[in-house]
């Protein structure tokens, strides 16, 4: 369990929260990506904790291949911020931690599609990753709309996953070499 009270102070200001909520609720694609979300000190602490997690190799050939772990995050500030932006009740979340390396992916497959809509919360802790290496979390409605989230360390993405909106993890190619792309996902 990680105790967080270390959001970047800018995200605690009413004016900022109002802007983020407006952007999230009223954009064509209901999503916001917030950079430098945590304080630098806390972000460093979070990365340290994640690096000490035990990851398990998780492969379902027709759906995904990556390393997976989990982490509970308890933060009144984070919960209040997300509640305000999404207008949903948010309690402490248990995040799935995904670690992608070369040859890893997640495909859209009928058998494994998320059935229920929700709001995805993605904390990205990938600091040195080139988009050319793939591995982007990408949302699509299956009718041509594609919304890739560019990797950015210490960012928080909030995405309303409506019916027929699904996500996949783009294949990570050989230019990634030994590097890893790590992010945390939870759904509210």
């Amino acid at each position: 369990m990680v105790k967080i009270d270390e959001l970047n102070p800018i995200y605690l200001k009413d004016e900022t929260k109002q802007k983020v909520r407006k952007s999230f609720l009223h954009s064509d694609f209901p999503a916001v990506m917030l950079n430098e979300f945590f304080s630098k000190e806390f972000y460093a602490e979070l990365k340290k904790k994640i690096s000490s997690l035990n990851f398990k190799r998780d492969t379902i050939v027709l759906h995904h291949s990556y390393d997976r772990s989990s982490m509970a995050i308890s933060s009144a500030e984070l919960n209040m911020f997300l509640s305000f932006v999404t207008k949903k009740k948010v309690e402490d979340m248990n995040f799935t931690v995904i670690r992608l390396g070369w040859k890893d992916y997640q495909i859209l497959h009928d058998r494994y599609l998320e059935k229920n809509p929700g709001v995805d919360i993605i904390l990205d802790i990938t600091d040195a990753w080139d988009n050319e290496w793939g591995g982007m979390v990408t949302y699509t409605d299956g009718r041509g709309m594609v919304y890739p989230l560019a990797p950015a360390g210490n960012s928080l993405a909030i995405i309303e996953r409506k019916k027929n909106l699904h996500k996949y993890f783009q294949y990570a190619n050989h230019y990634a070499e030994e590097k890893k792309r790590v992010f945390l996902i939870a759904t509210i």
Partner: protein, 205 residues
């Protein structure tokens, strides 16, 4: 259509068909065949030259990244028209039916594909209404270091587990397999500047 204009004559005898039939059905992890030097050398060159005049559009999704032509059935190119005529000729359909024991209607699809550095096709089974046999003609040579191998998955308890057969593209080779819920396959990522150039499609039944 005379098959021996395009195809290595060693594949056209009755005796050979019977052998291939046995090999096709017994090959693991699911029925398939690899036929090296299936196309004559001059036809490989001719197809490569004519594909050079075709437009390849980049395609990418959760499942793949490569460049592909439009469906070549509607091409005006004389070489490709002749090649399509070969593939959909009664003689070729008869040969494919003899080898696979799968009833075919004569309808086919055909696309040119180019995979280049970092391109891939992730595991899937190719099943779509009416598709009976998936086929691919390799038009250039790749080596192990280039990537781009075709991998066929072993399926246990309806779950694909590991690649059980792997084919590195060689010019003139024809590979085909029966499309079913077992036919999980992949094209491994291209790792070098060597392109992987193919003509591929499906026979329908």
């Amino acid at each position: 259509m005379t098959l021996n204009k395009w195809i290595n004559p060693e594949y056209l005898s009755e005796e050979k068909s019977k052998k291939l039939q046995s090999t096709f059905s017994s090959n693991q992890p699911f029925p398939h065949l690899e036929l090296p030097h299936f196309l004559k050398q001059e036809k490989i060159i001719s197809l490569l030259q004519t594909l050079g005049d075709q437009e390849f559009a980049p395609h990418h999704s959760d499942l793949f990244q490569f460049a592909q032509t439009k469906d070549l059935l509607y091409t005006d190119d004389p070489v490709l028209k002749e090649f399509i005529g070969l593939l959909s000729s009664p003689e070729m359909i008869d040969l494919m039916q003899k080898i696979t024991k799968i009833k075919l209607k004569g309808k086919i699809d055909l696309f040119g594909s180019i995979y280049q550095d970092t391109d891939y096709l992730l595991p899937h089974d190719d099943q779509l209404s009416g598709r009976k046999i998936a086929f691919m003609f390799y038009l250039n040579d790749l080596e192990e270091k280039d990537g781009g191998a075709l991998g066929l998955y072993e399926v246990k308890n309806k779950t694909p587990s590991k690649i059980a057969a792997r084919f590195i593209p060689k010019a003139g080779t024809l590979i085909f397999f029966a499309v079913s819920d077992l036919s999980i396959h992949t094209v491994e990522e291209i790792l070098t500047d060597t392109q992987r150039i193919t003509l591929s499609g499906w026979y329908y039944g």
